[in-house]
């Protein structure tokens, strides 16, 4: 067992984990943050996307020990209390989800991208979300929702 100390959704976490624990397993099983999902286990579908120090990453192919000392944000940490993030509101307004399984990962990827981008084009958004698979929506409303977020 190894020590792990990190910040998750603004909260300091200390844990003892076995080294082969992925970040996804740590978040989903150990901490019970079930928002991000296992969709393939190989980093190909994006359902497990969370943010580490603001950047979108595929948590199922990252060892938890690698985020020692870093700040992780999951979907559960996006809203500010009762106030939803503009990306979440945009997804609601546009109906940019259906079954919802890919949605946490999709929103985290969208949010991470928007925080780094300035006045992105549709092409930029499609490139940013190419690693997040969705079977229900065909991405159409997801792209529109992401583009609609007012970046101040």
């Amino acid at each position: 067992m190894e020590n792990l100390s990190l910040i998750v959704n603004g909260e300091k976490i200390e844990a003892k984990i076995s080294p082969e624990t992925t970040l996804h397993t740590f978040l989903h099983d150990t901490l019970g943050l079930t928002g991000s999902k296992e969709g393939c286990g190989e980093g190909l579908c994006g359902c497990c996307t969370v943010r580490v120090d603001g950047k979108a990453v595929k948590s199922c192919i990252i060892l938890a020990l690698q985020v020692e000392g870093k700040s992780v944000q999951t979907i559960e940490g996006l809203a500010d209390g009762e106030t939803l993030d503009p990306v979440q509101e945009a997804f609601l307004d546009h109906g940019a989800f259906q079954c919802g399984y890919c949605t946490p990962g999709m929103i985290m990827a969208s949010k991470a991208f928007l925080d780094e981008a300035s006045k992105p084009s549709e092409k930029d958004v499609r490139h940013a979300l190419s690693g997040n698979l969705c079977r229900c929506t065909g991405y159409h409303k997801i792209i529109k929702a992401t583009l609609s977020v007012d970046q101040k």
């Binding site: 080294p19 580490v52 060892l63």
Partner: protein, 291 residues
């Protein structure tokens, strides 16, 4: 995943020391975007993991006096993609990065890790080889610098010794004088390519129909990324015209060694390689002439 002992190295010295001790049964973990997946599927089962991702002293992109680049091995693909220095001087790398995997994978995966995992369909290696890149391999015994084109020797195999760590990539200044184009052909835009080509060339200053220097590197159609010297020679030694480019592409068609698999037959891959060579060479020439 099987059990393993985990070490975290905070600097190069520590990493090399750990490698000297455990190198034989250890795997170096940087971004792990290839390695972790393979470990989960039990294709690779190391007894020791030496995590070098935190070695921040290896995370840099520097423009060197002669116009070349020094890139630390822990630089992420995303840093490469977003670097203004690279966009201005080596746009082939920026454009290539845009097609590599996905944003999230690029955020965590490192260029050093990518080169060392030596996937035959890698996009990074062919581009860097086309630029004439070299890599620095460090160990407790010192450093050695080798050409990247000599570094990868087979599918998923490099000449990296068990006690060595790849610490830096260098791109020579000369490369900045030329134009490079990378392209890949895949069923979907960000897939690993069925065939990929990186072409880099420098036209003669006075006669723009002469190419003094050219590298044509293919990915995915051989066990490891390689230069196509016969094709390069044809272009270097003759006046450039449509027929010459076709001839060079035909040489690639004949010389490459793709295998038939679920992504396509060997004949198809050859043909795609040929078409991509024509397209990249034409585009590189057009670009070079417009500068």
């Amino acid at each position: 995943m099987d059990n393993f002992k985990y070490f975290r190295a905070s600097d190069v010295k520590e990493a090399c020391s750990l490698l000297s001790r455990y190198g034989e049964e250890a795997k170096i973990l940087s971004g792990g975007q290839s390695l972790v997946s393979m470990m989960k599927q039990r294709f690779i089962m190391p007894s020791y993991i030496i995590d070098v991702k935190g070695i921040s002293e290896l995370d840099y992109i520097r423009l060197v006096d002669d116009g070349g680049l020094e890139i630390g091995a822990m630089t992420t693909h995303r840093s490469l993609e977003k670097s203004a220095v690279i966009r201005e001087n080596f746009s082939m790398l920026s454009n290539m990065e845009l097609t590599l995997a996905s944003m999230a994978v690029r955020n965590w995966g490192t260029v050093g890790g990518s080169l060392c995992s030596a996937d035959p369909a890698s996009d990074l290696a062919p581009s860097l080889i086309a630029l004439g890149a070299q890599v620095t391999l460090s160990s407790e015994n010192g450093e050695r610098v080798v050409l990247l084109e000599d570094f990868i020797v087979d599918s998923f195999e490099t000449i990296l010794k068990e006690n060595e760590l790849l610490t830096q990539i260098q791109v020579p200044g000369k490369a900045a004088l030329g134009c490079g184009i990378h392209t890949k052909f895949a069923r979907r835009a960000h897939d690993l390519g069925i065939a990929s080509v990186a072409t880099h060339l420098i036209l003669d200053k006075s006669d723009r129909d002469i190419c003094n220097h050219i590298r044509i590197v293919l990915g995915a159609v051989d066990p490891f990324p390689q230069r196509y010297k016969r094709a390069e020679g044809l272009i270097r030694e003759n006046k450039i015209n449509e027929a010459l480019i076709e001839e060079a592409a035909r040489a690639v068609f004949e010389d490459c060694n793709p295998t038939t698999d679920i992504n396509g037959t060997e004949e198809y891959k050859r043909e795609i390689a040929r078409v991509l060579v024509i397209r990249t060479v034409k585009e590189a020439i057009a670009r070079a002439r417009s500068v």
